[in-house]
Symmetry: C2
């Protein structure tokens, strides 16, 4: 009798868990697991606990839906920031990208996705209510849409513009210094910074 | 003030842990961590616990150094296997590869590496004592060296052969030759030369 499967159930379990991650197949998962087996036990425990703590401990800022360790994120809690300008982004990676430019001093609103019928993501899957609530209650000057220059990004901007145009708030999109078709997370910070400085009023087309 | 780092320490910690894995950089680590954040909490806990359980729970077979959930691995515990033939391999992936062929019915010895001066790995870093102990005590017929066809693999075979030749055990290496399915014109001359020297009698099938 030959044993064509994993020699240990614990190993098989760990490989199976790693291979659930995006872009990681069974072979890579096995390589990572064998690497972990060679590390000191306390380091591996630290890794496992960091993952558990992450999911259980991370909060979403009640103001802007950004990831945070506290109820209100560092940016929303910062009184030196311009709280009358809200930059609307898809996810927290985009918050980090915009912060990286050093060109933006307002606050953010993280949608948690963009409208993408192909992926089955509609407006109800995004944190739009929280944004509308904020605009209706507070005195917001400007919404800056910093979304990817893709069909999905444009669709989301059109949707938000239609939904929010009843409120007295200026809406702008970041300038298309970002090449059309490019994803925001791959834009270099100089280009992205330029596109924030040169944002243009949104008047029904991009 | 702008925040160019991660918006959460828990996030930063998890990204830092993931990026310690081989072949995973900061960007990939962030992508994996954000993926985990979208998963249900119990699944993420399961992942973290699988990693901790792996490192703390996995044992190494006291017979052959293969990974196992028990003191003696399934292969060593199998009385139907030929315990007088030992296949010497570098790591547990190689055990799985050889098992996969369905052509081998002996037991294994996992060295845990091969001699590689470039990587600072010498004979003392490998589980050679355990193998020598076994050969000196038990009545072993044959050692089959199934190591990579590289300078490091060859060095390891030479070393083991010299160290173990005082024992009455036959030693063999797996055949080096043209891979099944490969075209002859693309085989390198060293491999082709080896396969000519080691030619086998044709008995109606290959």
């Amino acid at each position: 009798m030959s044993y064509q499967s994993y020699p240990s159930l614990l190993l098989e379990e760990a490989v199976s868990e790693f291979s659930k991650l995006p872009g990681i197949g069974k072979k890579t998962a096995l390589r990572l697991v064998l690497h972990l087996l060679k590390q000191p036990a306390e380091e591996v425990s630290h890794f496992g606990n960091a993952i558990i703590a992450l999911r259980n401990g991370v909060k979403f800022c009640k103001e802007c839906n950004n990831i945070s360790d506290t109820e209100t994120c560092r940016i929303c809690a910062d009184t030196n920031r311009d709280h009358k300008t809200i930059c609307v982004v898809e996810n927290i990676k985009d918050v980090m990208s915009v912060e990286n430019t050093g060109q933006y001093h307002g606050v953010y609103h993280v949608l948690g996705g963009i409208i993408s019928p192909m992926d089955g993501i509609g407006p109800s899957d995004l944190k739009i209510d929280l944004l509308e609530q904020k605009i209706s209650k507070e005195n917001i000057d400007e919404l800056v849409f910093a979304l990817s220059a893709t069909a999905e990004g444009d669709t989301t901007i059109f949707y938000l513009h239609r939904k929010l145009s009843k409120y007295p708030v200026m809406m702008s999109t970041i300038a298309r210094g970002v090449a059309v078709g490019d994803e925001l997370e791959y834009a270099d910070s100089v280009t992205l910074g330029r596109s924030i400085v040169n944002r243009v009023p949104f008047e029904g087309k991009v």
